[in-house]
Amino acid sequence: MKPDTEQSLISIKTTRQDHRIAWLTALAITIHIAESVFPSPLPGVKPGLANVITIAVLMLYGWSTAVWVSLLRVLVGSILIGTFLTPTFTLSLAGAVSSILVLGLATLLPGRGLGPVGYSLLAAQAHMAGQFLTAYWLFIPHEGLFGLLPLLMTMAVVFGLVSGLIVMAMLPRLDGKTS
């Protein structure tokens, strides 16, 4: 008798949305890992270009897709880099969660709301603030840490602005080409 291999496979029904999340997350993870290779001038300072994807997803497909892409990126990125469940991961997750929450609030704005630059700036600052407070609360509960805050926030603003401008340049090219 011929073994029926077809039957031993479990098939999961995937939706178009699942595929979209998977593809976009893969893109974000690639950027995340590529970025982690570069040395950082100051601990905690990273361009955070993977947020470009999060913001683009937010603009194109809405908040819930952005939540998936952002959280999956942190999870899978950390597993691939090898920082899963380390402080780095905790901080990364704290940043992602706070920026996602702030973005969620920002989408509730009436009228035309925010554009990519505004979203990106808010996300970058929320990311940094969430990360900073988590670091202060869990790892370095010393007042001296606050001396770093102005510098870190400046970097967050610079990179948030850059990411936002990248998204702004990216969106018109994506329109209509994505499913």
Partner: protein
């Protein structure tokens, strides 16, 4: 860019100077001096009144001068006179000591300049 974008950018640019002025400008003028003598007793002197103090140590008497919200070692019976060369202490957290004569002075204000110092 929408109006909300402009608002967010404006808010951000206003936030940064606030952060720098709050967290990078912590040392203030000194208001009181804490003098410790050979017995380890610490006594606190306000810097608002001009006066000279004599502090007894194992080598002799160290002279300390308070003037215009500042304090310094005027003289000490030690060899190196590092305490005298330390000059006026006026910023909160500054510190001078005459180790041979076992006298130390530190000044404090609202905020300290240093958290701690090790030698």
């Amino acid at each position: 860019m929408t109006r909300a974008d402009i608002f967010v950018i404006g808010f951000t640019l206003a936030l940064l100077p606030f952060l720098y002025s709050t967290y990078w400008n912590r040392e203030g003028p000194a208001e009181t001096a804490h003098i410790m003598d050979q017995s380890g007793r610490e006594f606190t002197v306000p810097l608002s009144t001009n006066q000279q103090l004599s502090i007894e140590g194992p080598l002799g008497v160290s002279l300390v001068e308070i003037k215009d919200g500042q304090i310094r070692f005027l003289d000490s019976p030690c060899r190196g006179k590092q305490c005298v060369h330390a000059g006026w202490l006026k910023q909160s957290g500054e510190f001078a000591a005459c180790l041979p004569n076992r006298v130390s002075i530190t000044v404090s204000g609202k905020d300290a300049l240093y958290d701690s110092i090790n030698f």
